[in-house]
């Protein structure tokens, strides 16, 4: 069982970014993603594109539905620079709230066949389901730019 909490990550002009932090991990999931690719010889520019796109598109206009690629219930940032293989998974809560997760380099056509991406894809889809349940039970609430109430959960192994 993996315990995690949803924590605030970065407030931009029109969106509040959250991330996922697993208990016992030094870094949250999004920092792990950035850390992996920030100096990567092949994917450094792809990471820069994702980061700048988040800042410019989402940050200035909000997490609008049309900006994301549907990945079951979670979303993937649909960046397509020179090499469109780097994926960052997220859960869109509203125009004002986006939860960023982790991601990786997609190596197969179907995400379920990709060992780099599938664990993150699955985590974010599970987190979407868990949060939705918690909101239905009225334990977790969304208020404008904030997620309030219950923010600690666990994922089954």
């Amino acid at each position: 069982m993996k315990r995690f909490k949803i924590t605030e990550y970065k407030k931009l002009e029109k969106v509040n970014l959250y991330t996922v932090h697993f208990k016992g991990d030094e870094k949250n999931e999004t920092d792990k993603f950035i850390d992996t690719f920030i100096n990567h010889p092949k994917y450094q520019k792809d990471l820069q594109t994702i980061i700048y796109w988040i800042y410019k598109r989402i940050g200035k206009e909000g997490a609008l539905e049309r900006f994301f690629r549907p990945e079951k219930n979670a979303k993937a940032l649909p960046i397509q620079p020179a090499n469109p293989k780097l994926r960052l998974y997220c859960v869109r809560i509203s125009d004002k709230i986006l939860i960023l997760g982790n991601g990786g380099v997609k190596t197969s056509k179907k995400v379920k066949d990709c060992p780099n991406c599938f664990p993150h894809f699955k985590n974010m889809n599970d987190i979407y389901f868990i949060l939705n349940n918690s909101r239905e039970k009225e334990e977790t609430f969304v208020e404008d730019y904030k997620i309030i109430g219950k923010l600690k959960f666990y994922l089954k192994d």
Binding site: I34, K45, I51, R66, R69, P81
Partner: protein, 145 residues
């Protein structure tokens, strides 16, 4: 709050910024034409023989458009998607005069005959704030009493 995000943002190169900015400009221009012409994303996908999810990806502002695909869209939409600064210069040089109509609400001005320099509004007259002397409401410029 993340410092790593800020750190990564600070390292973004100018060419990456320009790529994302241009991609957003083109996507927003297409989105605007579709809205103006009342064409849905689904209909647009049919017109281009593409999947709707593909069009959705294009309009997110993160697609690496080719000149070929832009040209195809321009023909199908019968509209210009990109205009170079040189084209813009030629196009807008042809426009010599532009008629501009500005509508300004005409103010109602009142003045006291005894003190024509003192302007006041009509309500203050009705409320009897100005006593004595002859009052005349003036509109459309000064008139003699």
């Amino acid at each position: 709050m993340s410092q790593l995000f800020d750190q990564a943002l600070a390292t973004v190169s100018d060419d990456v910024k320009r790529f994302v900015d241009n991609s957003i400009y083109v996507a927003d221009q297409i989105y605007s034409i579709l809205k103006e012409k009342g064409i849905s994303q689904r209909k647009f996908a049919e017109m281009l023989d593409k999947k709707e999810s593909e069009i959705s990806k294009w309009l997110s502002g993160s697609h690496n458009f080719t000149l070929k695909s832009i040209s195809k869209m321009e023909v199908i939409l019968n509209a210009s998607i990109i205009t170079t600064p040189l084209q813009a210069k030629h196009k807008f040089q042809e426009v010599k005069f532009v008629n501009v109509k500005t509508y300004v609400k005409k103010p109602e001005i009142t003045a006291s005959i005894n003190n024509p320099d003192k302007y006041m509004n009509e309500s203050s007259l009705r409320e009897g704030k100005v006593k004595g002397g002859k009052h005349q409401i003036f509109t459309n410029g000064l008139k003699s009493a």
